[in-house]
Symmetry: C2
Subunit: 352 residues, 2 copies
């Protein structure tokens, strides 16, 4: 199963493809907050590269964001343009990547309704990704219907764009299995392959830890560095970063594993040989936390300064952000309407 | 609760209303089969009257029909026009009543998605109507997600038309309570009354039994009389009708309670005094089943002949049926899109 499903970024990056046969990528984010460094290494960086090789669509998932924020919708609505600004600032090129808004594509809701008839509640409850999320949110049975069923909505997103590649972490693989199950059921009903199965594009990078090294990255918890963080905020975050609590004197040998500063250096420093040297020194003793943090801070300030500046310009031009999102959304409507038409046809619903 | 909710047909029929303040009725049928006499007494007859007093919309619920027929969609698709023909044949006037197709109104799916975030799985599972249906269909946990969540979809239907009156049987009251819960939650989020609560319009007529008096009416089980039944089929059905199994000789006293022939006479005979006399005679003894059945058959043949003939004409003109359904569906799109726009606005989703 794994062999069939898994497809390493490196592998696919090396495949030569003509423009005509470009595989389609669907990716996106719940619009529940601005993006941080975790998103940058986990997906943004990759997307900036992928947009040159693939036909890439990024969905700003506002409807999915509402599945656990139904009673707090401004958490979603206020972040839609922030997320778009983050994309553009990080280097997503709206001429190469379609950025679109989930709630602006009616076919997605319709497809979700049709697919809902092909998936049992038991199947949804067995989904390991959803299980974990339900537990972490302590929903219990009070889980909103929209949240339990969001894998179906995700299948609608993926299939509406005929995406064949979906960048995910290992923990998201069950979502793609659910999508492909729906694809096979629908194609069986249609008696032809109107939907395409998707493959995961697994990221090499493991999840970036929070600044404090223990909790989930969250702007409100102040344990993360946002793409929009100011110079001062970056500096403060690096200073507060979790290192090795037993590394009390500079001369003491320090622990590199679980040391957030080194994890960040691994993720962001351009010169990995240099980082390897630092690690050796730190492990042996004789390298202080302050020095390593200074190196990291410089690296992060260099990375984020141009992104922050670009982001500020976009945020200042709200109508441009809206225009870009609207154009991408409208472009997506035709394609998704076409898939919807075929799905309705499979169910015999093509009277007019 | 009951006092507030219940509104007898007789009461509302007497209320004087101007055209401007006409209350809106939403009603409809799952498009999973042609309509039979049970539908006629249970809803069609009433709708034919109501269309003169109210602004009435009848929804052909093909999407809801799919919630338990996802793998057998032709059961739905093949019946859409049959149901429309039944409506028109029974006297629904497309100039007075909007007949529309659920799958042709995209806003309904979108509203369902938004409302799904306001209803918990536990709440859906507590719904007595759904509970009963789940048991009767022996779904267990293999219940399709679309089926468990269909009360949310129904709330979308009702609110999309700003319906204030929904004709239902007692067993459907929990569905309207669910709808009104969603209305209140949504209005709370919007901080204004964008959706309207609905009231049930309870039918006086109790459920018509099947011809055999024991099972659910179903065309495939051959225990019902369809609006399309031929003269011969009607005759056969009445002859097979369940009476009093202990009423062996004409001179024996017969049981009227539970005697399907008398239940049908109650429901369909124009002269209820005459039926009361028949009942007295039958109870006392001296009236044979054959005689009563002959009276019922004549009554049903008279009722169904013009309906069957009209129905045949409509069925023969498929393009007319489609045109009527399409016109009603298009008319419904504007109204439902307007409600959708307001609901999206309540969630802050009004960028473009």
């Amino acid at each position: 199963m794994k062999n069939n499903l898994s497809l390493r970024l490196d592998q696919t990056a090396n495949s030569t493809q003509t423009n005509d046969s470009k595989e389609k990528i669907l990716t996106g984010d719940r619009a529940t907050g601005s993006l941080h460094l975790g998103h940058f290494v986990g997906s943004l960086q990759q997307r900036v590269k992928l947009q040159h090789q693939y036909e890439q669509t990024i969905l700003v998932a506002d409807m999915q964001g509402l599945t656990d924020n139904g009673h707090n919708p401004q958490k979603v609505s206020s972040n839609i343009l922030n997320v778009v600004a983050d994309y553009l600032a990080a280097g997503i090129d709206p001429l190469k990547t379609t950025i679109c808004l989930q709630s602006g594509i009616p076919a997605l809701a319709e497809l979700t309704m049709y697919y809902s008839n092909l998936v049992s509640i038991a199947r949804l409850e067995r989904n390991p990704t959803v299980k974990t999320e339900i537990n972490s949110k302590s929903f219990g049975r009070s889980i909103p219907a929209g949240f339990l069923t969001y894998p179906i909505s995700q299948a609608a997103d993926i299939t509406a764009f005929k995406a064949t590649l979906v960048p995910v972490g290992e923990d998201q693989l069950p979502m793609l299995e659910q999508t492909n199950e729906i694809v096979r059921k629908l194609n069986h009903i249609a008696q032809q392959d109107i939907l395409v199965e998707c493959k995961p594009l697994l990221s090499k990078v493991s999840r970036l830890p929070s600044v404090d090294g223990k909790s989930k990255m969250s702007k409100s918890m102040g344990n993360t560095i946002m793409l929009s963080s100011s110079e001062k905020e970056i500096s403060k975050a690096v200073k507060a970063m979790y290192t090795d609590p037993n590394h009390l004197r500079v001369c003491d040998p320090g622990q590199v594993d679980g040391n957030v500063v080194f994890t960040y250096l691994d993720a962001f420093h351009q010169d990995q040989d240099y980082v390897a040297n630092l690690k050796a020194q730190y492990s042996a003793g004789g390298l202080g936390d302050g020095t390593v943090k200074k190196i990291l801070e410089e690296c992060l300030q260099d990375l984020l300064k141009p992104i922050r500046q670009r982001r500020e310009e976009f945020i200042a031009d709200r109508s441009l952000l809206i225009a870009i999102l609207k154009a991408g959304t409208e472009r997506s409507q035709d394609e998704s309407n076409d898939v919807l038409r075929q799905v309705k046809c499979a169910f015999g619903l093509n009277l007019f």
